[in-house]
Symmetry: C2
Subunit: 306 residues, 2 copies
Amino acid sequence: MKEIKIFSPATVANVACGFDVLGFCLDSIGDEMIIRKISKKGIIITKIEGYDLPYEAELNVAGVSALALIEDANPDCGFEIEIYKNIKPGSGIGSSAASAAGSVFGINELLGRPYSNTDLTYFAMKGEAVASKSEHADNLAPAIFGGFTLVKSISPLEILEIPTPTELYATIIHPQIEIKTSEARAILPTEVALQDAITQWANVGSLIHALHTSDYGLLQRSLQDVIVEPYRSKLIPFFDDVKQAALNAGALGAAISGSGPSIFMLCHGPEDAKKVENAIQIVYAETNIEFDTYISKINTAGIKIL
Amino acid sequence: MKEIKIFSPATVANVACGFDVLGFCLDSIGDEMIIRKISKKGIIITKIEGYDLPYEAELNVAGVSALALIEDANPDCGFEIEIYKNIKPGSGIGSSAASAAGSVFGINELLGRPYSNTDLTYFAMKGEAVASKSEHADNLAPAIFGGFTLVKSISPLEILEIPTPTELYATIIHPQIEIKTSEARAILPTEVALQDAITQWANVGSLIHALHTSDYGLLQRSLQDVIVEPYRSKLIPFFDDVKQAALNAGALGAAISGSGPSIFMLCHGPEDAKKVENAIQIVYAETNIEFDTYISKINTAGIKIL
Protein backbone atom coordinates (compact mmCIF):
# COMPACT_ATOMS: atom_id res chain seq x y z
CA MET A 1 0.00 0.00 0.00
CA LYS A 2 1.45 3.35 -1.12
CA GLU A 3 -1.37 5.69 -0.23
CA ILE A 4 -4.23 5.77 2.25
CA LYS A 5 -7.25 8.01 2.61
CA ILE A 6 -8.76 8.26 6.06
CA PHE A 7 -11.58 9.89 7.99
CA SER A 8 -10.32 11.30 11.28
CA PRO A 9 -13.24 12.06 13.58
CA ALA A 10 -14.11 14.87 15.93
CA THR A 11 -14.21 13.93 19.61
CA VAL A 12 -15.64 15.15 22.89
CA ALA A 13 -13.30 15.35 25.86
CA ASN A 14 -14.14 15.51 29.59
CA VAL A 15 -17.72 14.17 29.24
CA ALA A 16 -19.11 16.24 32.15
CA CYS A 17 -17.65 14.57 35.25
CA GLY A 18 -14.51 13.12 33.65
CA PHE A 19 -12.37 16.22 33.32
CA ASP A 20 -9.00 15.45 31.72
CA VAL A 21 -9.62 11.69 31.53
CA LEU A 22 -12.81 10.76 29.65
CA GLY A 23 -13.70 11.22 26.00
CA PHE A 24 -15.86 9.81 23.24
CA CYS A 25 -15.72 9.69 19.46
CA LEU A 26 -18.13 11.27 16.95
CA ASP A 27 -19.12 9.80 13.62
CA SER A 28 -20.56 12.46 11.35
CA ILE A 29 -17.96 15.20 11.83
CA GLY A 30 -14.31 14.84 10.98
CA ASP A 31 -11.39 15.62 8.72
CA GLU A 32 -10.18 13.67 5.73
CA MET A 33 -6.53 13.05 5.15
CA ILE A 34 -4.50 11.41 2.39
CA ILE A 35 -1.13 10.03 3.36
CA ARG A 36 1.30 8.84 0.72
CA LYS A 37 4.63 7.03 0.89
CA ILE A 38 7.43 8.94 -0.84
CA SER A 39 11.03 7.98 -1.39
CA LYS A 40 12.50 11.08 0.27
CA LYS A 41 12.70 10.59 4.02
CA GLY A 42 10.79 12.97 6.26
CA ILE A 43 7.32 14.47 6.41
CA ILE A 44 5.95 16.93 3.85
CA ILE A 45 2.52 18.54 4.10
CA THR A 46 1.44 19.12 0.51
CA LYS A 47 -2.12 20.34 0.86
CA ILE A 48 -4.33 21.90 3.55
CA GLU A 49 -7.90 22.75 2.67
CA GLY A 50 -10.62 24.17 4.89
CA TYR A 51 -8.62 26.23 7.37
CA ASP A 52 -5.41 28.21 7.33
CA LEU A 53 -2.82 26.07 9.11
CA PRO A 54 0.99 25.91 8.84
CA TYR A 55 2.57 23.78 6.11
CA GLU A 56 5.89 23.40 7.95
CA ALA A 57 5.77 19.89 9.44
CA GLU A 58 7.51 21.10 12.62
CA LEU A 59 4.72 23.62 13.26
CA ASN A 60 1.73 21.53 12.20
CA VAL A 61 0.15 19.11 14.70
CA ALA A 62 -0.23 16.39 12.05
CA GLY A 63 3.38 16.97 11.05
CA VAL A 64 4.78 16.91 14.57
CA SER A 65 3.03 13.67 15.49
CA ALA A 66 4.15 12.10 12.19
CA LEU A 67 7.74 13.21 12.87
CA ALA A 68 7.57 11.63 16.34
CA LEU A 69 6.48 8.34 14.77
CA ILE A 70 9.12 8.23 12.03
CA GLU A 71 11.82 9.22 14.47
CA ASP A 72 10.99 6.03 16.34
CA ALA A 73 10.31 3.81 13.31
CA ASN A 74 13.10 5.19 11.11
CA PRO A 75 11.48 3.87 7.91
CA ASP A 76 13.34 3.77 4.60
CA CYS A 77 10.93 6.29 3.10
CA GLY A 78 9.05 9.49 3.87
CA PHE A 79 5.42 10.55 3.78
CA GLU A 80 3.43 13.37 2.29
CA ILE A 81 0.20 14.44 3.91
CA GLU A 82 -2.87 16.14 2.48
CA ILE A 83 -5.29 17.55 5.06
CA TYR A 84 -8.93 18.30 4.23
CA LYS A 85 -10.01 20.01 7.40
CA ASN A 86 -13.69 20.10 8.34
CA ILE A 87 -13.34 20.53 12.09
CA LYS A 88 -12.77 24.18 12.84
CA PRO A 89 -9.68 24.78 14.99
CA GLY A 90 -10.67 25.99 18.46
CA SER A 91 -14.18 24.57 18.30
CA GLY A 92 -13.70 22.28 21.30
CA ILE A 93 -14.40 19.03 19.48
CA GLY A 94 -10.86 17.83 19.00
CA SER A 95 -9.76 19.57 15.81
CA SER A 96 -6.05 19.32 16.58
CA ALA A 97 -6.48 15.78 17.90
CA ALA A 98 -8.06 14.68 14.61
CA SER A 99 -5.03 15.98 12.72
CA ALA A 100 -2.47 14.62 15.18
CA ALA A 101 -4.13 11.20 15.34
CA GLY A 102 -4.92 10.95 11.63
CA SER A 103 -1.35 11.31 10.40
CA VAL A 104 0.11 8.66 12.71
CA PHE A 105 -2.81 6.29 12.09
CA GLY A 106 -2.29 6.57 8.34
CA ILE A 107 1.48 6.16 8.47
CA ASN A 108 1.12 3.13 10.76
CA GLU A 109 -1.18 1.51 8.18
CA LEU A 110 1.28 2.23 5.36
CA LEU A 111 4.11 0.71 7.43
CA GLY A 112 2.14 -2.50 8.08
CA ARG A 113 0.88 -1.61 11.57
CA PRO A 114 4.02 -1.90 13.67
CA TYR A 115 2.42 0.19 16.42
CA SER A 116 -0.45 -0.35 18.87
CA ASN A 117 -3.21 2.18 19.38
CA THR A 118 -1.54 3.23 22.62
CA ASP A 119 1.74 3.81 20.74
CA LEU A 120 -0.13 5.92 18.19
CA THR A 121 -1.71 7.94 20.98
CA TYR A 122 1.74 8.50 22.44
CA PHE A 123 3.10 9.87 19.14
CA ALA A 124 -0.05 11.93 18.57
CA MET A 125 0.37 13.56 22.00
CA LYS A 126 3.55 15.18 20.67
CA GLY A 127 1.48 16.84 17.93
CA GLU A 128 -1.39 17.70 20.27
CA ALA A 129 1.10 19.50 22.51
CA VAL A 130 1.86 21.96 19.68
CA ALA A 131 -1.77 23.11 19.73
CA SER A 132 -2.52 23.01 23.43
CA LYS A 133 0.91 23.56 25.01
CA SER A 134 0.52 20.42 27.14
CA GLU A 135 0.56 16.73 26.37
CA HIS A 136 -2.84 15.26 26.87
CA ALA A 137 -4.75 12.39 25.34
CA ASP A 138 -8.41 12.90 26.22
CA ASN A 139 -9.32 13.77 22.60
CA LEU A 140 -6.68 11.58 20.96
CA ALA A 141 -7.67 8.36 22.69
CA PRO A 142 -11.31 8.34 21.50
CA ALA A 143 -10.21 9.35 17.97
CA ILE A 144 -7.77 6.43 17.77
CA PHE A 145 -9.61 3.76 19.81
CA GLY A 146 -13.20 4.84 19.07
CA GLY A 147 -16.10 4.76 21.52
CA PHE A 148 -15.59 5.95 25.08
CA THR A 149 -12.10 6.02 26.50
CA LEU A 150 -10.61 6.69 29.89
CA VAL A 151 -7.04 7.95 30.03
CA LYS A 152 -6.05 6.21 33.24
CA SER A 153 -2.62 7.78 33.23
CA ILE A 154 -0.37 9.77 30.94
CA SER A 155 2.94 8.49 32.26
CA PRO A 156 2.99 5.60 31.67
CA LEU A 157 0.30 6.09 29.04
CA GLU A 158 -2.64 3.79 29.75
CA ILE A 159 -5.93 4.01 27.92
CA LEU A 160 -9.04 2.03 28.79
CA GLU A 161 -11.77 1.27 26.27
CA ILE A 162 -15.16 1.61 27.94
CA PRO A 163 -18.22 -0.04 26.31
CA THR A 164 -20.64 2.17 24.36
CA PRO A 165 -24.39 1.62 24.77
CA THR A 166 -25.80 0.98 21.28
CA GLU A 167 -28.53 3.63 21.36
CA LEU A 168 -26.33 6.50 22.44
CA TYR A 169 -26.23 9.63 20.28
CA ALA A 170 -24.57 13.00 20.68
CA THR A 171 -25.93 16.39 19.72
CA ILE A 172 -23.37 19.17 19.46
CA ILE A 173 -23.71 22.92 19.21
CA HIS A 174 -20.71 24.97 18.19
CA PRO A 175 -21.20 28.68 18.87
CA GLN A 176 -18.83 30.59 16.60
CA ILE A 177 -16.88 32.30 19.33
CA GLU A 178 -13.27 31.84 20.29
CA ILE A 179 -12.13 30.47 23.64
CA LYS A 180 -8.41 29.99 23.97
CA THR A 181 -7.49 26.68 25.64
CA SER A 182 -4.97 28.64 27.71
CA GLU A 183 -7.75 30.94 28.96
CA ALA A 184 -10.02 27.97 29.69
CA ARG A 185 -7.17 26.44 31.69
CA ALA A 186 -6.29 29.64 33.53
CA ILE A 187 -9.86 30.13 34.76
CA LEU A 188 -9.74 26.86 36.72
CA PRO A 189 -8.80 26.85 40.40
CA THR A 190 -5.72 24.88 41.43
CA GLU A 191 -7.58 23.61 44.49
CA VAL A 192 -11.11 22.26 44.80
CA ALA A 193 -13.32 21.38 47.75
CA LEU A 194 -12.87 17.78 48.87
CA GLN A 195 -16.66 17.40 49.02
CA ASP A 196 -16.96 18.43 45.37
CA ALA A 197 -14.15 16.08 44.39
CA ILE A 198 -16.01 13.22 46.13
CA THR A 199 -19.18 14.07 44.21
CA GLN A 200 -17.18 14.14 40.99
CA TRP A 201 -15.52 10.75 41.48
CA ALA A 202 -18.82 9.19 42.50
CA ASN A 203 -20.15 10.44 39.16
CA VAL A 204 -17.12 9.16 37.24
CA GLY A 205 -17.55 5.75 38.85
CA SER A 206 -21.26 5.64 38.15
CA LEU A 207 -20.78 6.85 34.55
CA ILE A 208 -18.33 3.99 33.89
CA HIS A 209 -20.81 1.58 35.48
CA ALA A 210 -23.67 3.03 33.40
CA LEU A 211 -21.66 2.60 30.18
CA HIS A 212 -20.91 -1.03 31.10
CA THR A 213 -24.56 -1.77 31.89
CA SER A 214 -26.21 0.40 29.18
CA ASP A 215 -28.19 2.07 31.97
CA TYR A 216 -29.42 5.28 30.33
CA GLY A 217 -31.13 6.52 33.50
CA LEU A 218 -27.90 6.21 35.43
CA LEU A 219 -26.02 7.88 32.58
CA GLN A 220 -28.35 10.81 33.00
CA ARG A 221 -27.77 10.99 36.74
CA SER A 222 -23.99 10.69 36.29
CA LEU A 223 -23.44 13.38 33.65
CA GLN A 224 -22.84 16.09 36.24
CA ASP A 225 -19.78 18.31 36.54
CA VAL A 226 -19.50 20.16 39.84
CA ILE A 227 -15.80 21.05 39.43
CA VAL A 228 -15.12 22.61 36.04
CA GLU A 229 -18.47 23.71 34.61
CA PRO A 230 -19.11 26.38 37.27
CA TYR A 231 -15.98 28.18 36.01
CA ARG A 232 -15.86 27.47 32.31
CA SER A 233 -19.54 27.82 31.55
CA LYS A 234 -19.13 31.58 32.09
CA LEU A 235 -16.98 31.69 28.96
CA ILE A 236 -19.82 30.34 26.80
CA PRO A 237 -22.73 32.73 26.11
CA PHE A 238 -26.17 31.25 26.89
CA PHE A 239 -24.63 28.03 28.25
CA ASP A 240 -27.25 27.69 30.98
CA ASP A 241 -30.09 28.30 28.52
CA VAL A 242 -28.77 25.71 26.08
CA LYS A 243 -28.29 23.19 28.86
CA GLN A 244 -31.75 23.71 30.28
CA ALA A 245 -33.40 23.57 26.84
CA ALA A 246 -31.51 20.36 26.04
CA LEU A 247 -32.48 18.68 29.30
CA ASN A 248 -36.10 19.79 28.86
CA ALA A 249 -36.06 18.27 25.38
CA GLY A 250 -34.92 14.92 26.77
CA ALA A 251 -31.10 15.02 26.72
CA LEU A 252 -29.44 12.64 29.17
CA GLY A 253 -26.93 15.36 29.95
CA ALA A 254 -25.38 18.52 28.56
CA ALA A 255 -21.92 19.84 29.29
CA ILE A 256 -18.98 21.69 27.78
CA SER A 257 -17.14 19.76 25.08
CA GLY A 258 -13.44 19.89 25.93
CA SER A 259 -12.59 23.45 26.85
CA GLY A 260 -15.48 24.78 24.76
CA PRO A 261 -17.08 26.70 23.19
CA SER A 262 -18.92 23.64 21.82
CA ILE A 263 -21.53 22.10 24.09
CA PHE A 264 -22.40 18.41 23.78
CA MET A 265 -25.55 16.58 24.72
CA LEU A 266 -25.86 12.81 25.06
CA CYS A 267 -29.22 11.37 24.03
CA HIS A 268 -31.00 8.03 24.03
CA GLY A 269 -31.73 7.33 20.38
CA PRO A 270 -31.74 9.47 17.22
CA GLU A 271 -35.24 10.91 17.78
CA ASP A 272 -34.25 12.42 21.12
CA ALA A 273 -31.02 13.71 19.58
CA LYS A 274 -33.06 15.47 16.89
CA LYS A 275 -35.52 16.96 19.44
CA VAL A 276 -32.59 18.23 21.46
CA GLU A 277 -30.98 19.74 18.36
CA ASN A 278 -34.22 21.60 17.58
CA ALA A 279 -34.48 22.90 21.14
CA ILE A 280 -30.94 24.28 21.25
CA GLN A 281 -31.24 25.77 17.77
CA ILE A 282 -34.20 27.79 19.05
CA VAL A 283 -32.10 29.12 21.95
CA TYR A 284 -29.20 30.22 19.77
CA ALA A 285 -31.35 31.49 16.90
CA GLU A 286 -32.45 34.28 19.25
CA THR A 287 -28.86 35.45 19.74
CA ASN A 288 -26.49 37.31 17.42
CA ILE A 289 -23.98 34.48 17.57
CA GLU A 290 -23.53 32.24 14.55
CA PHE A 291 -23.56 28.56 15.32
CA ASP A 292 -23.51 25.05 13.88
CA THR A 293 -25.20 21.97 15.22
CA TYR A 294 -24.46 18.31 14.60
CA ILE A 295 -26.01 14.98 15.46
CA SER A 296 -23.81 11.91 15.62
CA LYS A 297 -24.03 8.33 16.71
CA ILE A 298 -21.13 7.45 18.99
CA ASN A 299 -18.39 6.20 16.69
CA THR A 300 -17.07 2.96 18.15
CA ALA A 301 -14.49 2.43 15.39
CA GLY A 302 -12.53 5.68 15.60
CA ILE A 303 -10.46 6.68 12.58
CA LYS A 304 -11.66 4.92 9.43
CA ILE A 305 -9.96 4.02 6.16
CA LEU A 306 -11.98 5.42 3.25
CA MET B 1 -41.51 -16.64 60.95
CA LYS B 2 -41.12 -15.41 64.54
CA GLU B 3 -37.36 -15.41 64.89
CA ILE B 4 -34.35 -15.07 62.64
CA LYS B 5 -30.65 -15.59 63.20
CA ILE B 6 -28.31 -13.73 60.88
CA PHE B 7 -24.65 -13.21 60.13
CA SER B 8 -23.89 -9.51 59.58
CA PRO B 9 -20.51 -9.10 57.92
CA ALA B 10 -17.61 -6.73 58.35
CA THR B 11 -16.97 -4.41 55.43
CA VAL B 12 -14.21 -2.26 53.97
CA ALA B 13 -15.07 1.33 53.05
CA ASN B 14 -13.21 3.70 50.70
CA VAL B 15 -11.24 0.97 48.85
CA ALA B 16 -8.18 3.19 48.27
CA CYS B 17 -9.31 5.67 45.60
CA GLY B 18 -13.05 5.63 46.39
CA PHE B 19 -13.13 7.74 49.53
CA ASP B 20 -16.66 8.08 50.90
CA VAL B 21 -18.28 6.17 48.02
CA LEU B 22 -16.82 2.67 47.50
CA GLY B 23 -16.97 -0.37 49.76
CA PHE B 24 -16.85 -4.15 49.73
CA CYS B 25 -18.13 -6.94 51.91
CA LEU B 26 -16.12 -9.53 53.88
CA ASP B 27 -17.13 -13.12 54.47
CA SER B 28 -15.22 -14.60 57.37
CA ILE B 29 -15.62 -11.78 59.90
CA GLY B 30 -18.93 -10.56 61.22
CA ASP B 31 -21.45 -10.37 64.02
CA GLU B 32 -24.34 -12.70 64.69
CA MET B 33 -27.73 -11.37 65.66
CA ILE B 34 -31.01 -12.97 66.67
CA ILE B 35 -34.14 -10.94 66.07
CA ARG B 36 -37.46 -12.06 67.48
CA LYS B 37 -41.00 -10.79 67.01
CA ILE B 38 -42.66 -9.82 70.29
CA SER B 39 -46.18 -8.65 70.97
CA LYS B 40 -45.15 -5.43 72.71
CA LYS B 41 -44.47 -2.68 70.16
CA GLY B 42 -41.02 -1.15 70.05
CA ILE B 43 -37.43 -2.36 70.06
CA ILE B 44 -35.77 -4.09 73.02
CA ILE B 45 -32.16 -5.15 73.08
CA THR B 46 -32.02 -8.19 75.32
CA LYS B 47 -28.48 -9.41 74.98
CA ILE B 48 -25.12 -8.03 73.88
CA GLU B 49 -22.09 -10.30 73.98
CA GLY B 50 -18.53 -9.59 72.92
CA TYR B 51 -18.25 -5.86 73.57
CA ASP B 52 -19.70 -3.39 76.02
CA LEU B 53 -22.38 -1.45 74.14
CA PRO B 54 -25.53 0.38 75.29
CA TYR B 55 -28.73 -1.63 75.80
CA GLU B 56 -31.01 1.40 75.39
CA ALA B 57 -32.38 1.13 71.85
CA GLU B 58 -32.15 4.90 71.37
CA LEU B 59 -28.40 4.82 72.07
CA ASN B 60 -27.51 1.62 70.24
CA VAL B 61 -26.85 1.72 66.49
CA ALA B 62 -28.80 -1.50 65.90
CA GLY B 63 -31.64 -0.07 68.02
CA VAL B 64 -31.73 3.30 66.28
CA SER B 65 -31.84 1.81 62.78
CA ALA B 66 -34.54 -0.65 63.90
CA LEU B 67 -36.55 2.23 65.38
CA ALA B 68 -36.26 4.13 62.09
CA LEU B 69 -37.67 1.12 60.25
CA ILE B 70 -40.60 0.47 62.58
CA GLU B 71 -41.47 4.16 62.68
CA ASP B 72 -42.00 3.87 58.92
CA ALA B 73 -43.57 0.39 58.87
CA ASN B 74 -45.65 0.76 62.03
CA PRO B 75 -46.05 -2.99 62.48
CA ASP B 76 -48.52 -4.49 64.94
CA CYS B 77 -45.69 -5.96 67.00
CA GLY B 78 -42.26 -5.20 68.35
CA PHE B 79 -38.85 -6.86 68.13
CA GLU B 80 -36.20 -7.98 70.54
CA ILE B 81 -32.62 -8.11 69.42
CA GLU B 82 -29.69 -10.20 70.63
CA ILE B 83 -26.27 -9.08 69.44
CA TYR B 84 -23.25 -11.38 69.41
CA LYS B 85 -20.54 -8.96 68.50
CA ASN B 86 -17.32 -10.22 66.93
CA ILE B 87 -16.26 -7.05 65.11
CA LYS B 88 -14.50 -4.79 67.56
CA PRO B 89 -15.97 -1.28 67.63
CA GLY B 90 -13.51 1.24 66.19
CA SER B 91 -11.57 -1.33 64.18
CA GLY B 92 -12.31 0.31 60.84
CA ILE B 93 -14.06 -2.68 59.27
CA GLY B 94 -17.64 -1.56 59.72
CA SER B 95 -18.50 -2.68 63.23
CA SER B 96 -21.32 -0.18 63.68
CA ALA B 97 -22.52 -0.77 60.11
CA ALA B 98 -22.84 -4.51 60.78
CA SER B 99 -25.07 -3.77 63.79
CA ALA B 100 -27.10 -1.06 62.06
CA ALA B 101 -27.61 -3.14 58.92
CA GLY B 102 -28.23 -6.44 60.70
CA SER B 103 -31.19 -5.28 62.76
CA VAL B 104 -33.09 -3.78 59.84
CA PHE B 105 -32.28 -6.72 57.57
CA GLY B 106 -33.64 -9.15 60.17
CA ILE B 107 -36.79 -7.14 60.90
CA ASN B 108 -37.48 -6.79 57.17
CA GLU B 109 -37.32 -10.58 56.81
CA LEU B 110 -39.69 -11.08 59.76
CA LEU B 111 -42.13 -8.57 58.22
CA GLY B 112 -42.11 -10.39 54.86
CA ARG B 113 -39.64 -8.12 53.07
CA PRO B 114 -41.64 -4.95 52.52
CA TYR B 115 -38.43 -2.95 51.98
CA SER B 116 -35.77 -2.89 49.28
CA ASN B 117 -32.06 -3.05 50.04
CA THR B 118 -31.86 0.68 49.40
CA ASP B 119 -34.68 1.28 51.92
CA LEU B 120 -32.81 -0.83 54.46
CA THR B 121 -29.64 1.15 53.85
CA TYR B 122 -31.60 4.34 54.43
CA PHE B 123 -32.90 3.14 57.81
CA ALA B 124 -29.48 1.78 58.76
CA MET B 125 -27.91 5.18 58.07
CA LYS B 126 -29.91 6.53 61.01
CA GLY B 127 -28.18 4.00 63.24
CA GLU B 128 -24.77 4.51 61.67
CA ALA B 129 -25.09 8.23 62.41
CA VAL B 130 -25.18 7.45 66.16
CA ALA B 131 -21.69 5.95 65.92
CA SER B 132 -20.07 8.28 63.42
CA LYS B 133 -21.98 11.54 63.89
CA SER B 134 -22.75 11.73 60.17
CA GLU B 135 -25.04 9.77 57.87
CA HIS B 136 -23.02 7.73 55.47
CA ALA B 137 -23.53 4.45 53.68
CA ASP B 138 -20.14 3.31 52.45
CA ASN B 139 -20.00 0.45 54.97
CA LEU B 140 -23.75 -0.18 55.11
CA ALA B 141 -24.22 -0.65 51.38
CA PRO B 142 -21.73 -3.53 51.00
CA ALA B 143 -23.07 -5.20 54.18
CA ILE B 144 -26.63 -5.12 52.83
CA PHE B 145 -26.05 -5.60 49.08
CA GLY B 146 -22.87 -7.70 49.27
CA GLY B 147 -19.91 -7.47 46.91
CA PHE B 148 -18.61 -4.10 45.82
CA THR B 149 -20.90 -1.09 46.05
CA LEU B 150 -20.70 2.51 44.97
CA VAL B 151 -22.78 5.04 46.89
CA LYS B 152 -23.56 7.32 43.97
CA SER B 153 -25.41 9.78 46.16
CA ILE B 154 -26.75 10.05 49.69
CA SER B 155 -29.66 12.34 48.92
CA PRO B 156 -31.44 10.82 47.11
CA LEU B 157 -29.85 7.58 48.25
CA GLU B 158 -28.59 5.65 45.24
CA ILE B 159 -26.42 2.57 45.53
CA LEU B 160 -24.81 0.76 42.60
CA GLU B 161 -23.82 -2.90 42.73
CA ILE B 162 -20.47 -3.37 40.99
CA PRO B 163 -19.45 -6.87 39.83
CA THR B 164 -16.94 -8.81 41.93
CA PRO B 165 -14.17 -10.76 40.15
CA THR B 166 -14.44 -14.38 41.35
CA GLU B 167 -10.83 -14.81 42.48
CA LEU B 168 -10.67 -11.70 44.63
CA TYR B 169 -9.68 -12.07 48.28
CA ALA B 170 -9.04 -9.59 51.05
CA THR B 171 -6.40 -9.77 53.75
CA ILE B 172 -6.96 -7.51 56.74
CA ILE B 173 -4.73 -6.46 59.59
CA HIS B 174 -6.28 -4.82 62.63
CA PRO B 175 -3.68 -3.17 64.86
CA GLN B 176 -5.15 -2.85 68.33
CA ILE B 177 -4.95 0.91 68.55
CA GLU B 178 -7.76 3.43 68.71
CA ILE B 179 -8.42 6.02 66.01
CA LYS B 180 -11.50 8.12 66.56
CA THR B 181 -13.53 8.62 63.37
CA SER B 182 -13.81 12.29 64.34
CA GLU B 183 -10.02 12.57 64.50
CA ALA B 184 -9.64 10.75 61.18
CA ARG B 185 -12.13 13.23 59.68
CA ALA B 186 -10.52 16.30 61.24
CA ILE B 187 -7.09 15.45 59.82
CA LEU B 188 -8.39 15.75 56.24
CA PRO B 189 -8.05 19.01 54.32
CA THR B 190 -11.23 20.72 53.13
CA GLU B 191 -9.56 21.50 49.82
CA VAL B 192 -7.44 19.29 47.59
CA ALA B 193 -5.30 19.97 44.53
CA LEU B 194 -7.29 19.69 41.29
CA GLN B 195 -4.49 17.58 39.80
CA ASP B 196 -4.76 15.08 42.66
CA ALA B 197 -8.54 14.98 42.31
CA ILE B 198 -8.12 14.19 38.59
CA THR B 199 -5.73 11.35 39.43
CA GLN B 200 -8.21 10.05 41.98
CA TRP B 201 -11.23 10.04 39.65
CA ALA B 202 -9.17 8.40 36.91
CA ASN B 203 -8.43 5.66 39.44
CA VAL B 204 -12.08 5.39 40.52
CA GLY B 205 -13.13 5.07 36.88
CA SER B 206 -10.49 2.48 36.13
CA LEU B 207 -11.26 0.53 39.31
CA ILE B 208 -14.93 0.26 38.29
CA HIS B 209 -13.83 -0.81 34.80
CA ALA B 210 -11.42 -3.38 36.29
CA LEU B 211 -14.18 -4.85 38.47
CA HIS B 212 -16.45 -5.13 35.43
CA THR B 213 -13.77 -6.80 33.33
CA SER B 214 -12.09 -8.91 36.08
CA ASP B 215 -8.81 -7.28 35.10
CA TYR B 216 -6.58 -7.96 38.11
CA GLY B 217 -3.65 -6.05 36.66
CA LEU B 218 -5.78 -2.96 36.22
CA LEU B 219 -7.20 -3.42 39.72
CA GLN B 220 -3.63 -3.27 40.98
CA ARG B 221 -2.88 -0.09 39.05
CA SER B 222 -6.15 1.51 40.21
CA LEU B 223 -5.89 0.87 43.95
CA GLN B 224 -4.11 4.16 44.61
CA ASP B 225 -5.23 6.90 46.98
CA VAL B 226 -3.46 10.23 46.49
CA ILE B 227 -5.99 12.25 48.50
CA VAL B 228 -6.68 10.68 51.90
CA GLU B 229 -3.89 8.21 52.57
CA PRO B 230 -1.12 10.85 52.81
CA TYR B 231 -2.98 12.31 55.81
CA ARG B 232 -4.56 9.34 57.52
CA SER B 233 -1.69 6.90 57.14
CA LYS B 234 0.19 8.96 59.74
CA LEU B 235 -2.36 7.82 62.33
CA ILE B 236 -1.50 4.15 61.77
CA PRO B 237 1.87 2.96 63.12
CA PHE B 238 4.00 1.11 60.53
CA PHE B 239 1.44 1.72 57.77
CA ASP B 240 4.12 2.21 55.10
CA ASP B 241 5.95 -0.93 56.20
CA VAL B 242 2.79 -3.02 56.09
CA LYS B 243 1.84 -1.65 52.69
CA GLN B 244 5.28 -2.29 51.22
CA ALA B 245 5.47 -5.79 52.67
CA ALA B 246 2.00 -6.57 51.31
CA LEU B 247 2.82 -5.30 47.82
CA ASN B 248 6.12 -7.18 47.85
CA ALA B 249 4.23 -10.34 48.80
CA GLY B 250 1.91 -9.96 45.82
CA ALA B 251 -1.03 -7.87 47.05
CA LEU B 252 -2.92 -6.04 44.29
CA GLY B 253 -3.18 -3.06 46.59
CA ALA B 254 -3.05 -2.04 50.24
CA ALA B 255 -4.85 0.88 51.82
CA ILE B 256 -6.59 2.06 54.96
CA SER B 257 -9.89 0.31 55.68
CA GLY B 258 -12.47 3.02 56.35
CA SER B 259 -10.92 5.52 58.73
CA GLY B 260 -8.56 2.86 60.09
CA PRO B 261 -6.71 1.56 62.01
CA SER B 262 -7.33 -1.62 59.99
CA ILE B 263 -5.45 -1.95 56.72
CA PHE B 264 -6.87 -4.05 53.88
CA MET B 265 -5.11 -5.73 51.02
CA LEU B 266 -6.84 -7.09 47.92
CA CYS B 267 -5.28 -10.24 46.48
CA HIS B 268 -5.70 -12.48 43.45
CA GLY B 269 -6.59 -15.88 44.89
CA PRO B 270 -6.35 -17.44 48.37
CA GLU B 271 -2.66 -18.37 48.07
CA ASP B 272 -1.62 -14.77 47.51
CA ALA B 273 -3.91 -13.66 50.34
CA LYS B 274 -2.13 -16.12 52.67
CA LYS B 275 1.34 -14.99 51.53
CA VAL B 276 0.33 -11.39 52.14
CA GLU B 277 -1.00 -12.27 55.59
CA ASN B 278 2.31 -13.90 56.49
CA ALA B 279 4.26 -10.88 55.25
CA ILE B 280 2.28 -8.35 57.26
CA GLN B 281 2.30 -10.55 60.37
CA ILE B 282 6.11 -10.43 60.24
CA VAL B 283 6.04 -6.62 60.13
CA TYR B 284 3.72 -6.25 63.11
CA ALA B 285 5.26 -9.09 65.13
CA GLU B 286 8.33 -6.88 65.49
CA THR B 287 6.31 -4.09 67.11
CA ASN B 288 4.77 -3.84 70.58
CA ILE B 289 1.30 -3.44 69.13
CA GLU B 290 -1.17 -6.30 69.38
CA PHE B 291 -2.94 -7.13 66.14
CA ASP B 292 -5.30 -9.53 64.42
CA THR B 293 -5.25 -10.61 60.81
CA TYR B 294 -8.01 -12.08 58.67
CA ILE B 295 -8.35 -13.53 55.20
CA SER B 296 -11.71 -13.39 53.48
CA LYS B 297 -13.16 -14.04 50.08
CA ILE B 298 -15.25 -11.10 48.92
CA ASN B 299 -18.76 -11.81 50.17
CA THR B 300 -21.13 -11.22 47.27
CA ALA B 301 -24.26 -12.08 49.28
CA GLY B 302 -23.96 -9.59 52.15
CA ILE B 303 -25.91 -10.37 55.32
CA LYS B 304 -26.86 -14.07 55.53
CA ILE B 305 -29.64 -15.94 57.30
CA LEU B 306 -28.15 -18.68 59.49
